[in-house]
């Protein structure tokens, strides 16, 4: 089964609130999907022969959500997640496409590995899976991987995510070289000398808990470095999971200067601070760490004004055994695919921090533009990737019910309002919420 194949019967999504910032649409309309593509959008569209009609009254119909930053763990760590389970978890969270980070074992640093991820993603038949390739061979930070070959095989960008590129000279080469292929260079900004293997944010909470802290400066220094090298080369730098006030500020200034930069905000850095680590809660251990309230507010402000272009979950599944350890020993990361939409809708949209179209822009349109992916729009003729959300659906986060193999979430037990009820990829439904929900 190829999820990019035709959708079989035409699908008419009738009477929903269609929110498509790419066309400036926010209105109650019908959307017709046919042959895997968007066939039309308008008021009172007729029902074509054989079409399947979904009544969307009271629901939000939007271009499919795209997550530029997920860890699907395959190959090498299939006990945490597989491409199959990750792609279905994505669909259940309303995502129609995800970008798989290459820090697997072995790392995705050659065209064969890219092909493996792509093929496994297609076999999964859920959200589309776009691989990223490594910047450096084996993510060692020494010499460039075969970027051209990997892009030809289907990689949509390069990154050594998980390992920052510490050698500024290598970052320069990557940004210059990637320009040939028009792909972004995504970087995990962290100066390892300053972060010194810290377990959480440096500050009062870390001091009280007796845990090694990572200062904001460890991220700020690296963000500034990346921005300067991007400016030098004219390359496109994509800064991952920005968590600091000065980091947001530096990106805002760089954009004003015309530097080609896009940047991510994660749901957890938008909603949590380092206080979530109290009690040595390993489900709040992540990298970059949860920071101070001032940083969280700056990330929210950057997300509001678009300095941080996209929402990315940094979905990082870990087996419960691995998180069931002393804080120092537990790995970094949380799952995010199945909570992101509900969290944003509940805590940013329903509270008036951002408008619904802004959420769709950050979760669909901007990610598609940033990585030059199909989708992010409901324009006629584009792939029929659509997410339908019930904005009134009330639910409680229960990690053990996730389709993901892992349930390491700091949001366990949170009451949310709004979730995906239908996820359509290539005109075909890949996720439908049970009618009881």
């Amino acid at each position: 089964m190829n999820c990019q194949g035709d959708g079989g019967r035409p699908l008419l999504l009738r009477g929903g609130r269609v929110v498509d910032p790419s066309q400036g649409i926010d209105d109650v309309l019908d959307v017709l999907l046919r042959d895997g593509r968007v066939a039309g959008i308008g008021r009172g569209l007729g029902i074509p022969d054989g079409a399947h009609v979904v009544e969307c009254g009271g629901h939000v119909v939007m271009p499919g959500l795209i997550d530029l930053h997920v860890h699907l763990r395959e190959p090498g760590h299939e006990h945490k997640e597989t491409i199959l389970t990750g792609a279905h978890a994505a669909a259940a969270g309303g995502f129609t496409a995800v970008c798989a980070m290459p820090n697997t074992t072995p790392a995705v640093d050659d065209p064969a590995a890219v092909g493996f991820v792509l093929a496994a993603g297609q076999r999964a038949g859920a959200a589309r899976v776009y691989p990223l390739g490594c910047i450096s061979v084996g993510q060692k930070g020494e010499r460039l991987a075969e970027v051209g070959e990997m892009v030809e095989a289907g990689a949509v960008g390069i990154t050594d995510d998980g390992h920052p590129v510490m050698d500024s000279g290598l970052m320069r080469l990557a940004l210059e070289y990637a320009r040939i292929f028009g792909v972004p260079v995504a970087d995990h900004p962290e100066d390892l000398g300053l972060s010194r293997h810290g377990a959480m944010n440096e500050g009062l909470v870390a001091t009280r808990l007796g845990l090694r802290g990572k200062p904001n400066a460890s991220e700020d220094v690296h963000i500034l470095r990346d921005l300067l090298v991007a400016e030098l080369t004219g390359g496109h730098i994509h800064l991952q999971h920005v968590s600091t006030r000065l980091g947001v500020e530096a990106i805002r200034r760089a954009k004003e200067r015309g530097v080609r930069v896009t940047a991510e905000a994660t749901p957890h850095h938008l909603l949590l601070t380092d206080e979530a680590c109290e009690g040595y809660r390993t489900e709040a251990k992540m990298n970059p760490p949860l920071r101070s309230p001032v940083d969280m507010e700056a990330v929210v402000a950057g997300f509001q004004d678009g300095t941080l272009d996209v929402l990315a979950t940094d979905h990082a599944p870990h087996h419960y055994d691995e998180k069931e350890q002393a804080f120092d020993d537990a790995p970094n990361g949380i799952v995010g695919l199945e909570t992101a939409l509900g969290l944003l809708h509940t805590h940013l949209v329903a509270t008036g921090v951002i408008e619904l179209p802004t959420m769709v822009e950050r979760m669909s349109c901007a990610p598609a533009r940033a990585f030059r992916l199909p989708g992010g729009t409901l324009r006629s003729g584009t792939p029929a990737d659509v997410t339908v959300m019930d904005p009134g659906a009330r639910w409680t986060v229960e990690g053990r019910r996730f389709l993901s193999k892992s349930w390491n979430t700091p949001f366990e037990g949170w009451d949310l309002v709004g979730r995906a009820v239908l996820t359509v990829v290539g005109g075909r439904s890949v996720w439908e919420a049970a009618s009881s929900q």
Partner: protein, 323 residues
């Protein structure tokens, strides 16, 4: 399970969560237990039939022996587990160790572990009483308590006493437990050490930072001198032990200028000639061996209280009644 009688709760994880009243209760309970160690037959049946495991994931001589004496003098059955030779080195997780202990129906665990939070981790997963014997850089509550008891013995009070903790505050669980305990009991607390070894935000715990040792000596009634681990030099926090001694080593030459009484505490083991000179360690200001003696009494008090002993009955428990 009648540990509520003591008002301490199930476990002793740190001094941060305790109230001043709870800390006073432990110190007061330690007083009658001091005398047991002075007897010819150093044993009372307070914990007869109780099983206690001393679970040490880090090398320790002093703390482990102090706990073991406290346990044995209260007639508990004790087992020592050191990481070397235990299943821990074979890769067994802390969770599995905890479950196995639980399955053997032990009453209490004293845990020493290199990771901050390990004692709390264990306490949340087993019904036995858990006593933190030192977890990472977090807390070492019985050390904090024995320091408080030693200061109270010598100065008759803790409120208003000026205590300066000298040395590697960043990596020190002793410093944190001291700060929490001293601040709660109304002492004035300062820390003194190279800025590379002071944790961020330490002032927010209610302490002042005194950069130079000379000023600290002028200010303080008590200096609690911390051990400088050799690996701090290897990882570059201080350039050399020699220079550390010149800047932060407590010597009689430095103390000589202070006419009034000054107590010198050290949690041990000492690096003579690094953070403390021998003439100070062995001199008239030093109460270092009193600390060791008080350590056994404080640990007896904690064991007794967590086992359900009532503070007001400690005197009669000492005379032979069971908890």
């Amino acid at each position: 399970m009648n540990w509520l009688a003591s008002g301490l709760g199930k476990d002793l994880i740190g001094l941060e969560p305790l109230s001043a009243d709870q800390i006073h209760t432990i110190l007061d309970t330690a007083e009658p237990f001091k005398e047991i160690s002075e007897r010819r037959i150093k044993k009372v049946p307070v914990l007869r039939g109780k099983t206690i495991v001393n679970l040490f994931f880090e090398p320790s001589t002093r703390t482990r022996i102090s706990f073991e004496f406290a346990e044995k003098r209260l007639s508990a059955d004790t087992v020592n587990i050191q990481t070397v030779g235990s299943s821990v080195v074979k890769g067994e997780t802390l969770v599995d160790t905890a479950r196995n202990l639980e399955a053997m129906r032990i009453d209490m665990v004293v845990i020493r572990h290199g990771s901050s939070g390990a004692a709390r981790f264990l306490a949340e997963r087993i019904p036995s009483n858990v006593i933190n014997g030192g977890d990472g850089w977090h807390e070492h509550p019985t050390q904090g308590l024995l320091d408080l008891l030693t200061i109270r013995d010598r100065l008759g009070k803790i409120e208003g006493v000026r205590v300066c903790i000298v040395g590697d505050i960043l990596h020190s669980r002793v410093a944190r437990s001291n700060i929490y305990g001293l601040v709660k009991l109304g002492a004035e607390v300062a820390v003194c050490g190279p800025p590379t070894l002071l944790p961020v935000g330490i002032e927010q715990l209610g302490v002042r930072v005194i950069p130079r040792l000379e000023e600290a000596i002028e200010w303080a009634h008590v200096l609690n001198v911390l051990r400088l681990q050799l690996e701090r030099m290897e990882s570059g926090f201080v350039p050399s032990l020699r220079e550390y001694n010149r800047l932060y080593g407590v010597s009689s030459a430095r103390l000589g200028r202070v006419p009034r009484e000054l107590l010198i505490l050290h949690p041990g083991p000492m690096n003579r000639g690094v953070e403390i000179d021998s003439d100070v360690a062995d001199g008239p200001h030093s109460v270092i061996l009193n600390q060791v003696t008080n350590g056994v009494a404080v640990r007896m008090a904690v064991l007794y209280l967590l086992a359900g002993g009532a503070p007001e009955r400690a005197e009669s428990a000492k005379a032979g009644a069971e908890a």
